[in-house]
């Protein structure tokens, strides 16, 4: 269970107010998409959630606790670019987090423990479709493959929250579509919370279970910098009750399958799943 709360958060740079009056409660296993025009403070919003920047006023809570003042392993991140380390191979990149956690001094594991981490990393790479590229360096991968690598690298740490900062912004439409499918599947499988910043409206509504728009509601022509952006609209795009009941139905169908004895299946080899659908 992960709950994120923004409690009246403001962000100011000197005289300039970027974000004001941000109040938000995000429940567990939500996919929050943040949209808004350029320069509205979407990325600032994400950076505060990442502790890359601190709110000027208000506080951010994860599970009731104020978030750590610096980036930590409970919040994974994928940026638009530069999310992977160019000096490690694909496999090496994915293995970095677990190796750092297990070996404070060398940052490297050896023998059986290394093989265990390698196995986990390879399983994840297979999941994101990069298994055959494990020995390549990131510079040898295409943009979409690098983003998939960045996802695998973040997911191996099993973060409570995954933060995505315009992760598909630099990809071509075909690759972007594949990435959408991959991300929504991973979100479902890992049952985590995702916060994604994007300026692509269809993308936000396709992936997000909740979409918030960040914009400046007021403007002062004499001092435009004195009004910050805030959450101007908040849509629940995929009703939690619908999602929950769909998951419940899927689980029940699976349970029923295991109850059907083999003797009841038709002789022509029709699978049990096909029968249940009818």
């Amino acid at each position: 269970m992960t709950q994120i709360i923004f409690d009246d958060v403001w962000k100011e740079y000197g005289e300039h107010i970027v974000l004001e009056r941000i109040n938000l409660t995000l429940d567990d296993h939500e996919f929050l998409a943040v949209i808004g025009p350029s320069g509205a403070g979407k990325t600032t919003f994400l950076r505060m959630l990442l502790s890359q920047e601190a709110p000027t006023r208000g506080r951010i809570l994860i599970d009731g606790e104020p978030i750590a003042p610096e980036p930590t392993a409970d919040r994974g991140v994928v940026f638009q670019r530069y999310s992977v380390f160019p000096h490690r191979t694909v496999l090496g990149n994915v293995m970095m987090g677990p190796q750092w956690a297990a070996s404070p001094l060398l940052g490297r594991l050896f023998g059986a423990r290394r093989r265990a981490v390698e196995e986990r990393a390879m399983a994840l790479l297979t999941r994101v479709g990069l298994a055959e590229h494990a020995e390549k360096y990131p510079a040898q991968l295409s943009g979409g493959m690098q983003q998939r690598l960045a996802l695998a690298q973040a997911l191996i740490m099993k973060p409570k929250v995954l933060l995505l900062d315009e992760p598909f912004g630099a990809l071509d439409p075909g690759t972007r579509k594949q990435m959408h499918e991959l991300v929504s599947e991973l979100w479902e499988e890992n049952a985590m919370t995702i916060v994604m910043v994007t300026h692509d409206l269809p993308e936000a509504f396709l992936l997000g279970t909740r979409v918030i728009a960040v914009e400046r509601p007021r403007k002062d022509p004499q001092a435009p910098e004195r009004f910050g952006a805030t959450i101007v609209s908040d849509y629940e795009t995929k009703c939690r009750i619908v999602r929950d009941s769909r998951r419940f139905e899927a689980d029940r169908a699976k349970a029923r399958l295991t109850l059907v004895p083999d003797a009841f299946l038709p002789a022509d080899g029709t699978s049990a799943a096909a029968l249940v659908k009818d």
Partner: protein, 272 residues
Amino acid sequence: MRRIINYAPSSGAKVILAALPFVLLVGVYFLGSSARLAIDPADKLMPGFASFYASMVRLGTTLDIATKQYLLWWDTWLSLQRLFLGLGISALIGLVLGILVGFVPYLRATFEPFFAAFSLIPPLAVLPILFILFGLGELSKIVLIVFGIAPFITRDVMLRVASLPTEQIVKAQTLGASTWQMITGVILPQVMPRLLDSVRLSLGAAWLFVIAAEAITAEGGLGYRIFLVRRYLAMDVILPYVAWITLLAFLMDYALRKVAAVAYPWDRIKAA
């Protein structure tokens, strides 16, 4: 008629074109030398290639009476020792200081302006101070090289650390890395190719400081020899020595480039 920048030589022509200036230089010297030797066979300013060869064989194979050494090899050994010690210490200082000062904000705020000012001190101007402090022996020569090169390498490493994308550093932290782990796992490997490059660029300056120090005081060394035989107008020694120093510098540069290519293959991919 295309623009001149759109004409590119073929690979065969490239080899010939690359060799051309060298051949021209040697040819011009040969013509000048022959013309002068025809007038005065004992000409000292532009001796022929035969006398170069004779001098080098003499210095390389006969035992010097005063020092009990084969001078060419002894000079080379002394100069290279100074050069390697100086460069090695500079690279180490540059790496450690550059990473620490470049990566830790408090250290950067404290030391960056100081290093910027320090690196502008002309090393040769402080050479007398070094001689006074460290004596006329090896130590002052090596300190001179370090003094001249370490600030440059330090600043170069600092710039490289600063140019690493913030995203990488934030990402490393979200993967749970400590400061030490980020330095050893993210910063150091990515700085190393740049360090090798900046050592390559410092080779010329390092030779300059070695020769300058040897010219003033030494018992041997390539620079010492050149400045010693200058008194006798012995161009037959000076010119081959200059060529020899150039060759040594070129070989070092080449070796460093190869080391970088083998040890850091990912750096090459990025450049491609």
